[in-house]
């Protein structure tokens, strides 16, 4: 099937009143959740995950894509109007966006950011369609290749570990452990189930993800006081042609930066947004305007973030490997719907695979239509007292966790995961590695054991394919790259100390 035929099939499968309605609802829910302080795309997607199980697989994935987009724009709204970013990537948008709001141009900043997001998403989409046509080649991958790819994806974890590698790897190892609980499909043995029939089926990804992202955020927020009051003047949401002309270059550059960063392990959205901002400042004829309300400072980072959101899907759709926590959530949503993400999806369920791709385009359009006229509605969510909001959300989450398998055990899992997530965050441990390893662990173990069961020497088995050798080469290069960066930093620190001693 050609890419064009695939796109047509995708549009056919999602262009139903039911799916369009779910997408509109998804966008609205995503924006409302994204506006809430502290709720970035992973938390928003995790919170709203149970809702999507009430609909068909294509509708559910289309709705998740809309929630994802909506929550990203929700973060942009608060970054621009309040300088309270929903996620790290929005900090860059808020630098000039908030300055524009202070000058009464918040509406314009929101409008140009929505247009930039649309352009970035749309161009990245073309790249994704092109990449998807290669997915069929991935069908030729053996389990040795998949093991190597999954191991490479684990390098992602190292990319997500933040400041301390030890503290980043602890949640990653815990995620791997949780993935081993349940019935071992190779030997039939029960692992760490304590004889419980509920645990024999394994720990539900969905319940764990809802717990570590959704509940952790709620518990963290309940521990604080919310004193954010919005009273700024948004101003008109119209954009002049002059502004669009001034922003076209930024949109193009932002798209390239975002698309490229989205393909990297860990999909570092903050790095993409700040690189785009720094790039805009560097190429600008008026760098002195940056930080004081430069429109390019808003468009560049936001376009990059949205292009990244699309190219993020490429490793998931072509290789079946999630490269970020939000993709891990989407991965688990596909699994729950009985769909295996990756090249097989294009072969066995082309309507769903292409439906997902086209739903990303449509979600972009819906967001553009909905975002601006209703901006005051989204912002008004901030006026709802969180003390009222959170109990209601907890009620919905309890219902959602129960609905996954009609079992109270999943509610318990969600709470245990939430409590664990809360404790880990109090110790400065990132949660994204846990979500990724939870999903990647079983894939890694299954293929590792298949390789070992051949009874050949390890090197002979695991280095028998060029793809695997390529993956290991990339891993070595990544480690060398990281090691080089650390060495450079140490040298810089040593040099700095030497200079300080000389001065004193």
């Amino acid at each position: 099937m050609s890419a064009f035929e695939g796109l047509l099939l995708g549009f056919q499968s999602i262009m139903t009143p039911e799916i369009l309605l779910f997408m509109v609802v998804g966008c609205a829910l995503g924006m409302v959740t994204g506006v809430l302080p502290g709720f970035g795309p992973p938390s928003a997607t995790a919170l709203l995950l149970p809702i999507v199980f009430l609909v068909s697989p294509t509708a559910s994935i289309a709705m998740i894509a809309s929630i994802y987009y909506g929550s990203m724009y929700g973060g942009t709204i608060t970054a621009i109007l309040l300088n309270v970013p929903g996620e790290a990537a929005s900090v860059a948008t808020g630098l000039d966006g908030y300055q524009m709001t202070k000058r009464g141009q918040g509406g314009k900043a929101l409008a140009i950011s929505a247009i930039g997001s649309f352009v970035g998403g749309f161009i990245a989409m073309i790249g994704m369609v092109f990449a998807s046509s290669f997915a069929i080649l991935a069908l030729k991958l053996t389990y040795i290749d998949i093991f190597a790819l999954a191991l490479l994806a684990l390098i992602v974890v190292i990319g997500l570990t933040g400041k301390s590698m030890i503290k980043g790897l602890i949640p990653a190892a815990l995620g791997l452990f949780v993935g081993t609980v349940g019935l071992d499909h190779f030997s039939g043995a029960q692992r760490f189930t304590f004889g419980s029939p509920d645990m024999a089926g394994g720990i539900s990804y969905i319940a764990v993800i809802m717990g570590i992202f959704g509940l952790t955020e709620i518990l963290t927020n309940l521990g604080q006081k919310q004193l954010i009051n919005f009273s700024a003047n948004i101003g008109p949401t119209r954009v002049a042609w002059k502004d669009i002309r001034e922003s076209i270059g930024s949109m193009g550059r932002g798209t390239v930066v975002g698309f490229f960063f989205g393909l990297l392990p860990g999909s570092p959205s903050a790095a993409a947004a700040f690189t785009s901002y720094a790039l805009e400042k560097r190429v600008s004829k008026h760098p002195e305007r940056f930080g004081k309300g430069a429109i390019q400072g808003v468009v560049g980072p936001d376009t990059a973030a949205n292009a990244l959101a699309i190219s993020n899907f490429i490793p998931l759709m072509t290789l079946g490997i999630p490269s970020s926590s939000t993709m891990a959530i989407i991965f688990s949503a596909l699994i729950v719907n009985g769909l295996q993400p990756g090249p097989l999806l294009f072969d066995q369920h082309p309507d769903v695979a292409w439906g997902i791709i086209t739903s990303l385009v449509l979600a972009n359009v819906i967001l553009l239509i909905m975002a601006l006229p209703l901006v005051r509605v989204w912002v008004s969510v901030l006026k709802i007292p969180t003390e009222l909001l959170y109990p209601a959300v907890l009620g919905v989450m309890t219902l959602g966790a129960y609905a996954v398998n009609n079992s109270i055990f999943d509610v318990i899992v969600m709470w245990v995961a939430g409590l664990m997530g809360f404790i880990l965050t109090r110790f400065d441990m990132p949660l994204a590695p846990a979500a990724l390893t939870l999903v990647l662990g079983p894939m890694l173990e299954g293929n590792f054991r298949r390789g070992l069961s051949l009874g050949q020497p390890l090197a002979e088995t695991f280095l028998s394919s060029p793809v695997a050798i390529g993956c290991y080469t990339v891993m070595i290069a990544v480690f060398a790259f990281k090691g080089f960066a650390v060495l450079k930093k140490l040298l810089r620190a040593y040099k700095g100390r030497g200079e300080a001693v000389a001065v004193s």
């Binding site: 808020g94 109990p391 009620g395 069961s453």
Partner: protein, 239 residues
């Protein structure tokens, strides 16, 4: 206004916070030591359980092999955390007090203007660092370096709220399958709102009851059967 805020940040940092930080820092190190010890003990238990599961069955890998690898990694990390804890904590404590994480900006006890100011400081420093950085690894490093470690401390009231929520969430866990979704969720949600938001109880109970009822009727219409041992919903639907 902005100038006032700018002046307030260092002032607030200088007065009182340094001595408070010392106390909370040693408490924090103690808590982390306990957590690292517990994690190591847990990992050791899993390690022994993995060995008991069987590492190999003949020439084939057994069910305990992969958990053994994972638990060994966890044990190693637990020990490293315990050993290198003062170093890890020292780096976090050294983070500039006026740099606020994106997550923190939304949940701190500060007014919006101050939050905005701090977010701008954080962002500007980051842009400078990214601008100076050469490669992708350095850019990622610059972003990671600027992300501060510690979340704002939870006060007594916050701790009580969290403890109450954790305790009260046993209600649906214990009661949902016994008395049904409706009769467990009404007290669960309404008591949470009454305790946390301190609203008039009769209004809260009434609104919650109607909302929960609507949710259950709605879910039953789309084919999602929630526990209803007393057949309340089927009776309502019949009428």
């Amino acid at each position: 206004m902005t100038a006032k805020i700018e002046a307030a940040v260092p002032e607030a940092v200088e007065t009182g916070q340094a001595s408070e930080n010392d106390g909370s820092s040693s408490r924090r190190i103690m808590a982390e030591r306990i957590a690292a010890a517990l994690l190591s003990a847990f990992a050791a238990l899993v390690l022994f359980a993995s060995i008991n599961l069987g590492l190999f069955k003949g020439t084939q890998p057994g069910p305990g092999l992969f958990p053994l690898v994972v638990s060994s990694l966890l044990l190693l990390l637990g020990i490293l955390w315990f050993v290198f804890l003062p170093g890890l904590h020292g780096r976090h404590a050294a983070a500039p007090p006026d740099s606020v994480s994106p997550a923190q900006t939304g949940i701190s006890e500060q007014p919006a203007e101050l939050v905005a100011h701090e977010s701008a400081v954080f962002g500007t420093e980051l842009v400078e660092a990214v601008g100076e950085a050469g490669g992708i690894a350095e850019i990622e490093e610059a972003v990671a370096e600027q992300e501060p470690g510690d979340l704002p401390p939870i006060d007594r009231e916050g701790s009580l709220r969290i403890a109450f929520i954790l305790f009260w969430s046993l209600i649906p866990i214990l009661l949902m399958e016994r008395v049904g979704f409706l009769l467990s969720m009404i007290p669960y949600v309404s008591v949470m709102i009454i305790v946390i938001a301190r609203r008039k109880w009769w209004k809260v109970v009434l609104i919650t009851a109607v909302a929960v009822l609507l949710v259950q009727v709605g879910t039953s219409f789309i084919g999602l059967a929630l526990p209803d041992p007393f057949r309340i919903i089927s009776t309502i639907r019949f009428w």
